[in-house]
């Protein structure tokens, strides 16, 4: 079954690394069988099969990215003081938009940068803890399990904009949050409490996502492993620490990676819940949106490009650092090949679950 699903990816990948890395002479045992099948003919076939995908990708991904890069080199259309009309052409300014971001707009940029990073680290951290707990609960066999699973997934099903509105009511000056806290906190004003409000709403909404992916990971762990552990007298905590966590790690890492990338692009939740241009919760996406809404597409693109680079950097670092660290067979399998395999497997598993 796996063979039916994988071919385009495997066939494209398999000759790739060997061609690109001529230095590696002895591929690991596990991969030799795969590579042996990849002859020149099947390589051409693979290229043919993948080309439509590449075409679509270059249209929907590469072209907009290149256009954004190009746009970011152009400035704002100026106002002609004589006629009172805006000039029709955008001046080419080179890298000045980037210079402005770090120069005159530096405070605002770094504030948004740290907000974005802070939100990502804190929300993804909390979501992981809560998500794993949710998955363990959903995985347990008990009466009404279906109901609990559905209940846990509800927040993930609510659109972000709607959940932001929902939480705005909760955090209203006379809302439920203040009734529970017992004194009036003005959540949607500037300040650390605004950050807290965003974090609570974000974690509420997305912890179920991690729960869902971890649940998928839990379901493929064979029961025999636990039986063996029980016979050996391992405690519940020991089982969790030494069996569940290592085995569920691939799925968990994919979930965390996805959440990190999402959190870095966070926009609608702080925008609707707390408001536009609130320094305490302004994120990088909000800066780009703000520039674009004032018809300054050049600077907006520059912000978008910087955000893109930041996200790309985090994604790469994630795959490199955590990807290598995760599998026990990392040393034996050779780093490059091991990386490829590890990322793909959980992704497939996830596809099966969502399907």
């Amino acid at each position: 079954m796996a063979d039916i699903k994988i071919p385009p990816g495997t066939a494209a990948d398999a000759p790739g690394p060997t061609a690109l890395r001529p230095g590696r002479h002895s591929p690991p045992v596990g991969l030799r069988r795969q590579r042996a099948r990849a002859t020149a003919g099947s390589g051409r076939m693979a290229a043919l099969l993948v080309s439509p995908t590449l075409l679509v990708l270059s249209i929907v991904v590469l072209y907009p990215t290149v256009m954004a890069l190009k746009e970011s080199l152009y400035g704002t259309k100026g106002l002609d003081p004589k006629t009172g009309f805006i000039r029709t052409t955008e001046p080419f300014v080179g890298l000045r938009n980037y210079g402005d971001i770090f120069g005159t707009g530096g405070d605002r940029f770094w504030n948004a940068f740290w907000n974005t990073t802070f939100f990502t680290v804190v929300t993804v951290g909390l979501e992981t803890l809560i998500g794993v707990a949710m998955a363990l609960i959903m995985h347990k066999a008990f009466r009404g399990r279906a109901l609990v699973r559905a209940g846990i997934l509800v927040p993930w099903a609510v659109p972000t904009a709607i959940s932001a509105l929902l939480w705005r009511w909760i955090f209203n000056s006379n809302g439920i949050a203040n009734a529970l806290v017992g004194h009036q906190i003005l959540w949607t004003t500037e300040g650390f409490h605004a950050k807290v409000a965003v974090i609570i709403a974000e974690v509420w909404k997305t912890a179920p996502f991690i729960g869902l992916l971890v649940l998928a990971g839990l379901q493929v762990i064979p029961k025999e492993v636990y039986e063996a552990a029980r016979i050996d007298g391992a405690s519940a905590l020991g089982q969790f620490w030494h069996i569940t966590l290592p085995l569920v790690k691939p799925a968990l890492l994919v979930a965390v990676l996805f959440r990190c990338l999402d959190a870095l692009r966070m926009f609608d939740l702080p925008y609707i819940l707390v408001g536009a241009q609130k320094n305490s919760v302004e994120t990088l996406s909000m800066l780009a949106q703000n520039e674009a809404s004032n018809v300054r597409f050049g600077p907006a693109s520059a912000y978008a490009v910087l955000l893109f680079l930041y996200v790309l950097l985090i994604a790469l670092a994630f795959v490199r650092v955590l990807g290598t660290d995760l599998a026990g067979d990392g040393g034996a399998a050779g780093k490059g090949a091991g990386r490829n395999r590890r990322v793909r497997v959980p992704a497939l598993r996830r596809a099966e679950v969502t399907a």
Binding site: L79, F85, I86, L186, Q277
Partner: protein, 432 residues
């Protein structure tokens, strides 16, 4: 060739000699266009579109149907955009940036006129074809850019002071306050009543959003200051502006304005007023009908906004009709704009949807005043109103105002410092 030269010569001679109008000569060629409205010619008849935010009243389709019945060959299609103003503006800008002819007549928020006109996204309109003299003057001003008409006023809006008549009467106050100090004095009297336990004095819209710009501009104008002058240059680092901002910031500090009001938008304030938490509230006329249905019914009335030394000035709300530069069938569009912004249509909008009209007469109409008792006060409010800054980069200007005013209201900056910084930011924003 020869003929043309001769004619041109004749024309110029005639013009020079007799001072004839361009039309007399231009009629032979296509040069007649733009005689009345810059370079625009209003040509082409056929179907067009009308683009506005979501219509919750159901009255817009009714008026459009009337037009469609009268003009079966020039049908108007109503394109509804989302409710919030930012998305409406964004979609209209996108349409203009792609030079699409999908949108013909645009319903613009009054503060967008300059931006749309400066980008040449909308056409200059022939002033003589709209009954501007029968309209309230401040409303007409919102439709102009650099002295030229770019939109037809369709609806207006002004701020009103809602106050609790029952409490004021009980405290022995016979008429609503005209100044800020009268208002705080009245509050002090009302607060001595047992019924006023836990009530706050006054609130407006002080969350960091467009409403804050409206309230800041009102405070500054009501203290005799200006945010921007007639040429769009900012003047906020002045003693008058400081008095205005001090009224807001000082009131939050001493509790005249409740602390939580820095989270208020229109609806939060309305609810606070209706549930008996506020003695005075600054809000728009739409609140009147809703408050009449709440438990505050019969206990409130409206007055013009108070000021520093006398009645204050409101900011102007409302919408204007503009013609997209990239549209087709502009002759039909112009006729439709005249029809849609006519006194007759404005009357329908007022009766059925309580939209404030731009026409002076309608505010004095006895049957309408019976239906909407706030009309005479609203007329006063609009006549004394000042439009928000009419600048091309309105987005930057309003952000800067919100940023500094909010800092002053929440106490993170002194009002002197906030205004100094604001003057700086505004100079930077309007210099572009």
């Amino acid at each position: 060739m020869k003929i043309r030269t001769t004619r041109a010569l004749q024309c110029s001679t005639a013009l020079a000699a007799a001072g004839l109008l361009v039309t007399a000569c231009g009629s032979s060629g296509d040069g007649g266009a733009g005689a009345s409205a810059g370079s625009t010619s209003f040509q082409g008849r056929g179907p067009i579109t009308y683009v506005a935010g979501k219509d919750t009243s159901g009255v817009v389709p009714k008026v459009i149907d009337r037009w469609n019945r009268l003009h079966p060959k020039e049908k108007v299609t109503f394109i509804q955009l989302p409710t919030d103003a930012d998305s409406q503006r964004q979609q209209m800008i996108q349409n203009a940036e792609t030079k699409s002819d999908a949108y013909t007549v645009l319903s613009l928020d009054v503060v967008w006129t300059s931006e749309f006109a400066a980008h040449q996204w909308i056409d200059r309109l022939p002033e003589k074809q709209f009954p501007l003299r029968t309209m309230l003057k401040p409303v007409v001003e919102t439709a102009k850019y650099r002295g030229n008409l770019y939109a037809a006023p369709a609806s207006s809006d002004g701020g009103l002071l809602y106050y609790r008549t029952d409490l004021l009467k009980k405290a022995g106050v016979t008429r609503p306050p005209a100044t800020w100090s009268e208002m705080t004095a009245d509050c002090a009297k009302v607060k001595k009543l047992p019924e006023a336990k836990g009530m706050s004095c006054y609130a407006g819209q002080f969350q960091k959003y467009e409403g804050l710009t409206v309230n800041f501009a009102e405070a500054v104008n009501s203290a005799g200051g200006v945010v921007t002058d007639a040429n769009g240059r900012p003047h906020v680092d002045t003693p008058e502006a400081k008095k205005g901002l001090d009224f807001l910031a000082g009131s939050v500090k001493d509790g005249t304005i409740p602390k939580e009001a820095v989270t208020y938008q229109e609806e939060d304030g309305r609810q606070a007023f209706q549930s008996g938490k506020l003695i005075f509230l600054r809000n728009w006329p739409y609140v009147y009908a809703l408050a009449e249905k709440s438990k505050a019914a019969g206990k409130f009335a409206v007055a013009p906004l108070p000021g520093l030394n006398g009645p204050g000035s409101s900011s102007l709300g409302g919408h204007n009709l503009a013609l997209s530069s990239f549209a087709k069938n502009k002759a039909t569009a112009l006729d439709f704009m005249k029809f849609f912004s006519s006194e007759d249509s404005a009357g329908t909008f007022l009766r059925d949807a309580s939209l404030a009209p731009p026409y002076t007469d309608l505010y004095d109409n006895a049957s309408l005043v019976k239906q909407y008792p706030y009309l005479p006060v609203l007329k006063q409010s609009i006549l004394r109103a000042v439009p928000r800054p009419r600048v091309v980069q309105y987005g930057d200007v309003t952000s800067a105002i919100q940023q500094e005013t909010y800092a002053a209201l929440t106490g993170s900056k002194s009002s002197t410092q906030a205004l100094k910084d604001l003057q700086n930011d505004l100079q930077h924003a309007t210099a572009q």
